[in-house]
Symmetry: C2
């Protein structure tokens, strides 16, 4: 029987690149992804789904067209579907993203930052 | 526009009872629930859905029929659908549960520990 304990900090030691999500778990058709972020991402949205960001360690700012929010360790936010957003971090920040399997990190906008999906660790 | 920052520790200060989930966010048809646990829960399963437990602070043991796993702060586990489990904690532990809206905490087993759904904080 599965049900393996997953330690976030252990998983974060297994990769070092930025903006490239690693899948650590699936629940039904949703994936839990760890990402190291630093600098500015691209403006994008996900037209078909909400998306959750949780800060595991560090400080993450998310820009919306009408405001910015800043999340610190132990904080989360739900990005409603279809809402343009741009994640940013002045210093490296470790985050977890929860969203349906198959969602592309840059939405429908092709970018140098578009990452492969289903990179499991 | 919503996208409100949610601080887990702030939310945990807003209630004190055990085994009674409080909803803090929704993503599509999934809910994020905070729960304070202490002692032993009841054996149960959720026949229609996986369920995620994340330990925000403390130590949580989950018994399965064939083994036990212990989660500490910063660890998570996916309980596969239909798998019987019994959460336990020797000392108070703060956890987050992620599962579809409408899932009852004790599954299909009526119990004194069956909690109301949709208690938002």
């Amino acid at each position: 029987m599965p049900a393996k304990v997953i330690n976030f900090n252990d998983k974060f030691t297994q990769f070092s690149d930025h903006w490239s999500p690693r899948v650590i778990a699936e629940m039904n058709d949703y994936q839990f992804k760890l990402v190291k972020v630093e600098g500015e991402f691209v403006w994008h949205d996900h037209p078909d789904t909400d998306e959750v960001f949780i800060v595991i360690e560090g400080t993450l700012t998310i820009a919306f067209r009408d405001k910015e929010v800043t999340l610190r360790t132990g904080e989360m936010v739900v990005i409603p579907k279809g809402v343009e957003h741009k994640p940013m971090a002045n210093e490296q920040c470790n985050i977890m993203i929860i969203e349906p399997r198959g969602v592309v990190n840059t939405g429908e906008i092709g970018s140098d930052l578009t990452a492969l999906n289903d990179q499991w660790i």
